[in-house]
Symmetry: C2
Subunit: 441 residues, 2 copies
């Protein structure tokens, strides 16, 4: 463990290599294909075993043109981004008065047909917290606004970006599959609209040109560090290879890809591998479908009983602050016994349950225990799903510490003879409203 | 002075009112016209005397579409903004390999015809400093790159944004009037291009659609706080009303407009006005032409001998750190004698010469002494000339402190019987390479 904690980390170099080679990599894009090729090549270079791709059929939604501006009381262009899977506006765009709501409760209370001829403006601010709790509290707006806009027969819907920054850059994200054109405006623009609405009616023009192409084939990329005693017992270590299209997916989730590949690298450099197999999975289509997670569970259904525990690294590049487990009664006690390992990195062994990531949720339903690497996410939602999600935002020192913490956690799972048990039925539902359980989407 | 230093400042409220009413206000745009109307109305509301507009013929350059992406070695869209007065690319855009230069010296050394069929990439980083010295050292690239691209017959030119942030937002700005399509890319994009160029050739696609319309009429807006003893002696207090088009010109120069109008408000609220007249001028067209400054000097040529001293507030909204003067031998001594007034605000009376602002440069040539309010500009070049220049960036407490410092300085000039003298010929050239002399462009 001392060795794993002192190896010079390659996490940021690996993330940079991915982002500079593939660029943005929304499911089904050319960047997605470049990322798959990069991952295969990189795993082979690191000397992983059984490096291969597993086919995943993914949606192919394409952002085209997007433009919004205030028409009255003044001309004011807005920083806007279509939400994932939003349809286009009619040719020439739409123009209508805004109706503002400022809470989930107000959204839920919208009456059918009540917004005919209007554009719904959902303006819910998100607070900055270290643990992502405010994201979980706010992000439901992204789907609910579209659902309620459809119900209320609005012409369109714009939401305040679900994010903590004050840049003129909108945060995109999945919003389900709804018939109303839906976009996010930047936080400064949402604040401006709110001020203008305080003075009188605000008329907005919105034009989105998007397209939904037929599904295409992408892939999960898999490789292993084979266990020296129990190669059939699998510690599953994941991250997602796809990203939103606006940035280069550096912190979401290039950073996680860098972390898990850096752990694999560190394990390969040891004189002998751990007792259990560490399997790296880089998932396709986490951002807008989870098709990669489902494909993995289907392809490996027979083998899931041998999945000892699963973890997804999807909380950015900042420092690890805690680890936690969800499993049988002995698992937490075993982790607590290794507290000293984590204290060396200023990482807390937490007593609350792990949540697992978005892609490991499917495995959770199959009873697979979960591990979480908790990271400081106080900066994460400044960048998340924006054009600003680029490699210059990564603090390599924090990223290295997170890699060392993750390597320690993986070593704990793969080397120690820990009985993680299986999840009881009541442990199998992914809890809502916590978010950032290693994998917010 | 105690009263001027304790009046609740309206600076941020005034700035917000301007930006929310006018929006972006590049010379000749509808926002420019709204700003002029707002300024007249606001000066009247504040009870200024002789509120009027003075006609200024301004250029009308219009940003249209702009798009850039790396074609090879990967597809990567870039955050790009045409530089002011850039021509359009040919229909369909241009596509060519990049040639990188990283210093002004390398730019100057480019040989005629040496970049035929290429796109010039001028990649000069700017450091963060409190005084703007690094801006002065870097900003010559904006003009020089276009000059040298034309000389070297490049297809186009992209510069690294002259700015200190790491947002995916490009910084626009004036670049003169040159035949080569010219744009800035964001700092993260410039860093990416640099990394890619380290691995091999980089092919770039650039498409700019801009247009130069016939000049239109805008206006300087003028109002006065009449002096109680020497109404004919003018202390000229300026800011510029126009802004670049990407943001709403909140810090450049809505903040300065807010400062000078707040000083006028505070003076009007005193029981009696200062001895000399304080004339407020809100200039047109500072950003791309200085036509407002020239028009003012022409219209008031006969009166310039009565301009006791001039100041332009054009350094953003952050706190004042110093004041300084350029004038006859007695002026600095007089300011030093009032040191105590400024110490109360933690503002230093500096011994070096004032530089004046961009718009007061013309008056400097006519011998008019100058005052500078130096502000902390360490954040200013994160926002300057970008879409991020919006009112949410203003720290109202710092802005209020700057307003109090400015009111103190104006009181010093208008109330005390200071003989500022006239500028000697050797004091009349605006020094280069300091920038941020109260008014970087």
């Amino acid at each position: 463990v001392e060795r794993l904690q002192s190896t010079p980390s390659q996490a940021t170099a690996l993330t940079t290599s991915l982002c500079d080679t593939a660029g943005p990599r929304l499911s089904g894009s050319s960047g997605d294909a470049r990322a798959v090729a990069w991952a295969v090549e990189t795993m082979q270079r690191l000397g992983l075993a059984h490096v291969h791709t597993e086919p995943v059929t993914v949606p192919r939604w394409v952002r085209g043109e997007e433009e919004a501006h205030v028409v009255a009381p003044l001309y004011q262009p807005l920083a806007v981004a279509a939400l994932g899977s939003s349809p286009s506006t009619p040719d020439g765009g739409i123009e209508a008065d805004l109706v503002e709501v400022t809470s989930l409760e107000q959204l839920e209370a919208l009456a059918p047909h009540s917004l005919a001829g209007k554009i719904l403006f959902a303006n819910l601010p998100m607070a900055r917290t270290n643990d992502g709790a405010s994201y979980a509290a706010t992000v439901p707006v992204r789907r609910l606004a579209s659902v309620q806009a459809a119900l209320a027969q609005a012409e369109g819907v714009v939401i305040r970006s679900v994010g903590t920054d004050h840049n003129r850059l909108a945060h995109t994200g999945a919003q389900g599959d709804h018939p109303v054109p839906a976009a996010a405006v930047s936080v400064p623009d949402a604040e401006l609209l709110h001020r203008l609405l305080g003075r009188g009616p605000v008329r907005l023009a919105l034009r989105l040109v998007t397209r939904e192409e037929p599904p295409v084939q992408s892939a999960n990329v898999v490789g292993e560090v084979l266990g020296r005693e129990h190669p059939e017992e699998i510690v599953l270590l994941g991250a997602h290879l796809d990203s939103w299209d606006l940035g280069t997916g550096a912190v979401d989730d290039g950073a996680g890809v860098g972390l898990v590949l850096d752990v694999a690298r560190a394990l390969k450099e040891l004189a002998r591998p751990p007792r259990r197999t560490v399997r790296i999975v880089l998932y396709a289509n986490e951002e807008n479908g989870l098709a990669g997670a489902r494909a993995y569970a289907e392809a490996h259904g027979a083998e899931l009983a041998h999945h000892v525990v699963a973890l997804e690294a999807d909380s950015g590049s900042d420092r690890a602050v805690g680890v936690r487990v969800l499993g049988g009664p002995g698992a937490r006690e075993a982790l607590r016994e290794r507290q000293r390992w984590f204290q060396a990195l200023d990482v807390e062994v937490r007593e609350d349950d792990a949540h697992g990531g978005a892609d490991t949720g499917v495995l959770r339903t199959a009873g697979v225990p979960q591990l979480d690497l908790r990271q400081d996410v106080s900066r994460y939602f400044d960048l998340h799903h924006t054009a600003n999600d680029t490699v210059d935002k990564i603090d390599a020192a924090q990223h290295a510490q997170a890699a060392h913490a993750l390597a320690t956690l993986v070593w704990f799972a793969a080397e120690e003879a820990v009985d993680f048990g299986r999840l009881m039925p009541e442990q199998q539902d992914t809890p809502r409203r916590e978010g950032q359980a290693g994998g917010p989407r």
